[in-house]
């Protein structure tokens, strides 16, 4: 316990943006300014997810309540052509009874998460993406991505892990800023590399998003969204966990 207390940093709470009046556009602005921990919640410091973020800033171990369970379905994907089948498999296994709008939303999010991981995680030395989205891709065994899903009591926990570890907070900030400023217009011009439109779609449609980067090793993007009851657009969180180099 003594060791734990020594690790606690008084400034940890100030690193978290907590507000009951944030919308996603404003959150995107904050991310582009370098804020890595954002919680839109009326519960303030009492929100369970805020408490986890606060404790993780100190000891980096606690899982968020929505991501605590082991995945019920886990699929490794190497071929871009396998994506649709993998996603369909998850939908049929865990969400077959859900209404069409829920399944469509889950399909879109899984599609964007997995294609982002396949096409934008592995980069050349110059920093450019090794694979292009305009063509099919066959990842090497060591580059295979993993798509995980867990059906919670009232929601879906999805995560995708890649073996790139190249995602930076600044990349996310730029992408979201561009998307919210233009609502997609100039995203269309970027045909070659990651334009960020897919990430924007994920950000717009999930309640919780957590990104963990081990620089040059791996990136895991985890999200949670409700599948029963209406989603509350004023309640969401974004957390980016990465090494020093990842956030610069």
């Amino acid at each position: 316990m003594g060791a734990l207390i020594k690790k606690l940093r008084p400034q940890a709470s100030s690193e978290i943006v907590i507000s009951s009046t944030l919308d996603r556009r404003k959150a995107a602005e904050l991310i582009s300014q370098g804020k890595a921990h954002i919680h839109a919640t009326a519960l303030g410091q009492n929100d369970a997810c805020v408490r986890v973020t606060r404790s993780r800033l100190d000891i980096q171990t606690a899982p968020y309540p929505w991501g605590a369970s082991k995945p019920q379905v886990s699929i490794r994907i190497r071929e871009s052509s396998q994506r649709c089948a993998a996603i369909q498999n998850i939908l049929e296994t865990l969400f077959s009874a859900e209404r069409s709008s829920i399944k469509e939303n889950l399909r879109l999010i899984m599609e964007e998460m997995s294609s982002n991981a396949m096409y934008h995680s592995i980069r050349e030395e110059s920093g450019k993406d090794l694979y292009r989205r305009t063509q099919g891709v066959s990842l090497k065994e060591a580059e295979a991505i993993e798509l995980n899903c867990h059906r919670t009591a009232d929601g879906a926990y999805l995560s995708v892990s890649d073996h790139g570890g190249t995602l930076r907070l600044t990349d996310i900030g730029k992408c979201l800023e561009r998307c919210y400023k233009t609502k997609g217009t100039d995203q269309m011009e970027a045909k070659e590399s990651g334009a960020g439109l897919g990430f924007f779609m994920i950000f717009e449609n999930v309640t919780h998003m957590e990104i963990s980067v081990v620089t040059q090793v791996s990136t895991t993007i985890s999200v949670w969204l409700p599948v029963s009851g209406a989603s509350d657009p004023t309640y969401f969180s974004f957390n980016f966990w990465g090494g020093k180099n990842a956030t610069k």
Binding site: C84, R133, K183, T185, M188, A195
Partner: protein, 157 residues
Amino acid sequence: MLPNDKFKFEQMLREQKKVIMLSGMIDEDTTFDEIMKLGSPLIFNFKGITAINSCGVRNWVNFLKAFGENNAAFEECPPTVVKQMNMIPSFTAGAKIASVYVPYVCDNCDAETMALIDVSKFSKGKFSVKETIPCEACKEGEMELDGHPAQYFSFIK
């Protein structure tokens, strides 16, 4: 038909107007070159579209820009297309939106249906849509609109 089995289109004539029936998934493999050759104006019927990803959105927006948004009209847009219209305004740009499908779910038997709504006379903040309709499946429950009307019709300009 395009050389891509995930996406197809067919051309029809309705009152001397060309209607393009789109079907399947719009993604990175989808090209609209063959449709471009058909000339304009065109009515795009989205009823058969099952999914669109971000690359598909990009392809569509680039196509629409080259085709001329003022020469395009959209009809029978299913929820998956309406979602993109709401998220990415350039998906429709200045195209005329004639009709969209609105999803309903029964509170009694969970049956789902979609109602085709003429939105050509809707304007921003001025639209009316039934929030409930009788369930034809169980004949007992009421079907509720699956979503918030203001959010669902936020593409209206």
